[in-house]
């Protein structure tokens, strides 16, 4: 009935493991994410894509830290701001870019678009375009692990604004009551669309909300990939060992507008600059340079390699046809049964 597997898919499993393996690989993945996101913005700006997109420049350390702390057999529920996570978890740039551009090479063959990325090979459930919707779904994935008594963990990634919606509350309570192996990761980037946190949210630290569920919580510097990885790893270890759910709040920032059309006039003076000064890629690169794990030439080479890979990916994407009409009739109902 459908061409289920994109030709790129096998590659994602392999890419999935890289971020678990070395700090250098994690830095490189963060660079990749930044470049892909920038590229997506460029392509939109050039009018090569219609529709909308939500990019994540500035938040790369959360995505890569999360991927580094988890396994390919875990499940992850992300949001419309999901390109970074998809890449971090292993989806190849051409598959991400391809979906954003509505091309057949994309993970949905181009009929989904920027908000709908998924890759079963690395446990990425379709990213959620409805705020909060992914949280209970992750709880369900965790229920599956618990019921089958495997040691998998489900992760739910969402923004600060999403913590004001009912699904967040219900999902966390259910996870706590059933003591499920799930980690809730809040990317607190201080804004939900154009609204600053304090105008919509009664607390400053989202982590404080864990107390309503007698749940463990942590606040972590979302610009520090090592810290994110360590924090999520602690939560994941707790979950795997039957210790139940955790709420991890990563303080981070998006450099760009909420979506394609947003110029972010609502930013506070100096705020962007302050966050740019703690850019997660620069911080991590600086650390690796300082420790000698990386030298400036290698860093340069890395940036060039990534740029080239993304140029190549873009080329392949632009060579891939747009979704064909018949594709819109596929995969609506599964023909199979048990």
């Amino acid at each position: 009935m459908s061409d289920t597997a994109s030709p790129e898919v096998p590659q994602s499993t392999q890419r999935r493991h890289e971020v678990n393996q070395s700090p250098i690989a994690r830095l490189e993945r963060m660079i990749e994410i930044r470049l892909v996101e920038d590229r997506i913005q460029d392509l939109f700006a050039q009018g090569l894509v219609s529709g909308t997109t939500h990019t994540s420049q500035g938040q790369e350390a959360v995505a890569v830290g999360l991927a580094a702390a988890t396994r390919a057999t875990d499940f992850v529920c992300c949001t419309y701001r999901g390109h970074g996570h998809a890449l971090a978890l292993g989806m190849p740039p051409a598959v991400v870019l391809g979906e954003v551009l509505g091309r057949q090479i994309g993970c949905m063959g181009g009929v989904g678009g920027s908000m709908h990325l998924s890759d079963p090979d690395v446990g990425l459930l379709p990213t959620f375009a409805i705020v909060g919707a992914g949280t209970p779904v992750a709880v369900g994935a965790a229920l599956q692990f618990a019921t089958k008594k495997t040691d998998g963990v489900a992760l739910s990634v969402f923004g600060d604004g999403a913590t004001n919606i009912g699904a967040f509350h219900e999902g966390l309570n259910l996870a706590a009551v059933w003591n499920l192996p799930v980690v809730f990761v809040c990317e607190n980037n201080l804004y939900g669309e154009y609204s600053p946190l304090e105008s919509t949210t009664a607390v400053t630290d989202i982590a404080d909300r864990a107390a309503s569920y007698a749940m463990a919580s942590e606040i972590v510097d979302g610009q520090d990939v090592d810290a994110v990885q360590a924090s999520i790893a602690r939560a994941v270890a707790r979950a795997r060992s039957g210790g139940g759910p955790t709420l991890v709040e990563a303080k981070t920032y998006r450099y760009v507008g909420h979506s394609r059309s947003d110029k972010a006039p609502y930013r506070k003076d100096g705020e962007l600059e302050q966050w740019l000064a703690r850019d997660p890629i620069e911080l991590f690169a600086g650390q690796l340079l300082a420790s000698g794990e990386l030298n400036p030439d290698a860093l340069d080479a890395m940036r060039h390699r990534q740029l080239q890979l993304i140029d190549e990916a873009q080329e392949r994407v632009l060579a891939s046809p747009t979704a064909a009409i018949p594709r819109m009739f596929e995969n609506i109902l599964s023909p199979s049964h048990s």
Binding site: T4, M108, H116, P126, V139, A167, G171, N331, H337
Partner: protein, 330 residues
Amino acid sequence: MNQAISLAISEEMDRDASVVVFGEDVAVAEGPFKTSEGLLAKFGPERVRDTPISETAFLGAAVGAAMTGLRPVAEIMFIEFMGVAFDQMVTEAALMHYLSGGRYEVPMVMRASVGSGLGFGCQHSQTLERWMLGTPGLKLAVASGARTAYGLTKAAIRDNNPVVILEPRTLYGQRENVDIGDESIIPLGTAEVVRAGTDVTVVALGQTVSVALEAADSASWSGEVIDLLSLMPWDRSTVLESVRRTGHLVIVEENQRSGGWGTEIASVVANEAFGVLRAPIHRITAPDVPVPYGPELEKRFLPSAAYVQEQVSSLLSTKKSPSSWWEELV
């Protein structure tokens, strides 16, 4: 009927260890309507779980569990409560297969009790098929008694798509002999001709099936009664074939007139059987009012067998749609 449902679920849980059940008070209390009797005792607290009052959480959990390897059967106590979790049904569950390019499947069942007749008032007595009609990616079936509840529930649990099964609440206590086993499975999307006839096709669903049968059984006309059973997809060929023979279609619905499921059937049949119809398609429905409290009013809300009989007689003799009982009142 509630025993038939418990049994269907129990058999499927036996057959497939990935089938799990959850909902409000479905485990320890064995279901507010006793539709999960014996399940907790037999399958234990990992597979049969009580949930908090969190329809969004547990339907969402069903979606996630279904996508990752379980086959959850979630119970919504009254269909109205779907209103607090509607997104998870029509926007998440229904679309996850599509959104994964066909790579994730969502084998989950959402059961809900529906309908009027027990004095629960206007927020606990509707059928609300209309909320779901036309949702790509969702299947929807409605039980009309113990046998069909058994057959549809088993089909739904084995289906790899999200399936909604509506169970008319007044029928839970109804007793009927049910042949068990795979032969009794009712494939989703198939209607049943439950009474053959030649003058008029009467399509009914859920609680109105017995109403239509009762009307037909003592009528002066020869009614072919079809239990539609599935609404998404619905069995066009069975209905159209019958209408082509009888030349008349009457639809008996429990819901309010506007936007009822019969509009879907009527608009398709009016189109496809144009020229064949010897009278207008006539919908017998409840009026456009909230379901009233009080036995007399509530009884009046649901079309009665006598009323159906009268309406069909009038249609067949005049070839005109008779007016509805409330038209003189409003």
